[in-house]
Symmetry: C2
Subunit: 258 residues, 2 copies
């Protein structure tokens, strides 16, 4: 993972070579290696997002065959401590953003509280007829005009979620223009006098990321998105916004406090 710092190998790779692994102790070599790398990760010598040396280099350092080393990495992959992408390398997994789902759920606030820099890009917006699902959520007749706004949201420049918002087109004239101008959903809605929308209900499923999601979220094949649908309402709990956000599940952990 992490499109951050591909050359961050150096820090850890200074480890003195030749500190081989203990043979003939009854403990499998790959297990010893896995445990040593794991210790390096949990004790912080291998930081999250950091790239490990290539399998060849690691094998040489531990004085084992590449297959033996791969067995160790396989164990760490299964435990989800590291992650390998063909062609890029093997990386220490970064801890996911803790994303609390509550009555007041705001992407930028949540990301900022995690100490990361939120940003967003408007992908597109248009008027479309309400599908059955959206009509029901917004208490509109089916086929009524709704404004759809698609956003890509990032933390520290890493894409986190693709969010589609639907609004009653009547109530939200020019919201798309305001969005483009302010760059913030919250601020744009404030301008329309809908500042303190609150979340009424959230529905969560998950599925493999499709082609477009992989491209937009820069995900390798086989990755998973969590699909979070939510209905947001005004102070009187009247629905004003329906959202479907697709979160890259590697980079986000949803939290519900009870």
């Amino acid at each position: 993972m992490s499109d951050t710092d591909d050359s961050a190998v150096t820090a850890w790779s200074e480890a003195e070579p030749g500190d081989d692994v203990a043979r003939g102790t009854g403990v499998a070599l790959w297990k010893q290696i896995a445990e040593r790398i794991e210790a390096d990760i949990v004790e912080g010598r291998l930081a999250p997002g950091m790239r490990l040396p290539t399998e060849m280099e690691l094998a040489e350092r531990f004085g084992v065959n590449r297959h033996t080393l791969r067995r160790a990495l396989a164990m760490l992959t299964e435990r989800r401590l590291i992650e390998a992408t063909p062609g890029r390398g093997t990386f220490v997994k970064e801890p996911p953003i803790r994303y609390p789902i509550g009555p007041r759920t705001r992407f930028s606030e949540i990301v900022a509280r995690e100490g990361r820099a939120p940003s967003g890009r408007l992908i597109g917006s248009r008027i479309e007829p309400a599908s059955a699902e959206i009509a029901e959520a917004l208490h509109l007749p089916m086929g009524a005009d709704v404004l759809r706004v698609d956003l890509l949201r990032e933390a520290d420049g890493v894409p986190i979620t693709i969010a589609s918002h639907w609004y009653d087109a009547e109530r939200c004239r020019d919201l798309d223009l305001l969005l483009a101008a302010t760059g913030s959903v919250t601020r744009a809605l404030e301008t329309l006098g809908l500042g303190d929308y609150r979340r009424l209900e959230t529905r969560i499923t998950a599925r493999p990321a499709d082609e477009e999601e992989r491209r937009r979220l820069s995900l390798p094949a086989g990755r998973v998105v969590m699909v979070v649908e939510s209905i947001n309402g005004d102070a009187q709990r009247r629905p004003i916004q329906y959202t479907r956000a697709r979160f890259c599940s590697d980079r986000v952990q949803l939290i519900v406090k009870n």
Copy 2:
């Protein structure tokens, strides 16, 4: 999906053959076919869980080549109206169980309220040393004895989730025996005077199902599980149970009410 009624083809397959699709109208054949099947689904002639005829049969019925038919099915798959598994067939997707996550979250109550029959099987239980994560959740020292109980939970005989529970081994002597005897987590905890545990926090991620999960939940390859970790506490909000449940994401939709 659905291990229910594989021979449920008949109801729909009586449709008169020879009602071919309109050629040379400017509308692609595969699009016409997709729309007709979609109509059959949304209007209930093809019920959820029902198996469609084979691709060969469908192609013959609509008077097109198998590839043309597959193009239509691909569209319906993308819209998540149907789902195909090699060797089994193509099925109309069943609506997922709506699974509310709240302070009082009980599997059997939730499933029963959906009008389905809950059941559960004890997979195993043992004492093990607390990992860092579990120790923190249960406010125990790391390595302390914890009781781990693994359950497979089903609705109408269809596996829904694999749940692992961890308890302080001190406080929960013989919980595993009670579980085996009563067959209910709730009732077993009641016997220990911990009847009204409530959920304190829930964390949600998702990932591809691994080998064991696919086997236990009878999932075909490429399917996804939602990993739901929760801390449950007693009336004083002292943590007494840590749970990691892996839900088949096709069959469940998590709901958060705010």
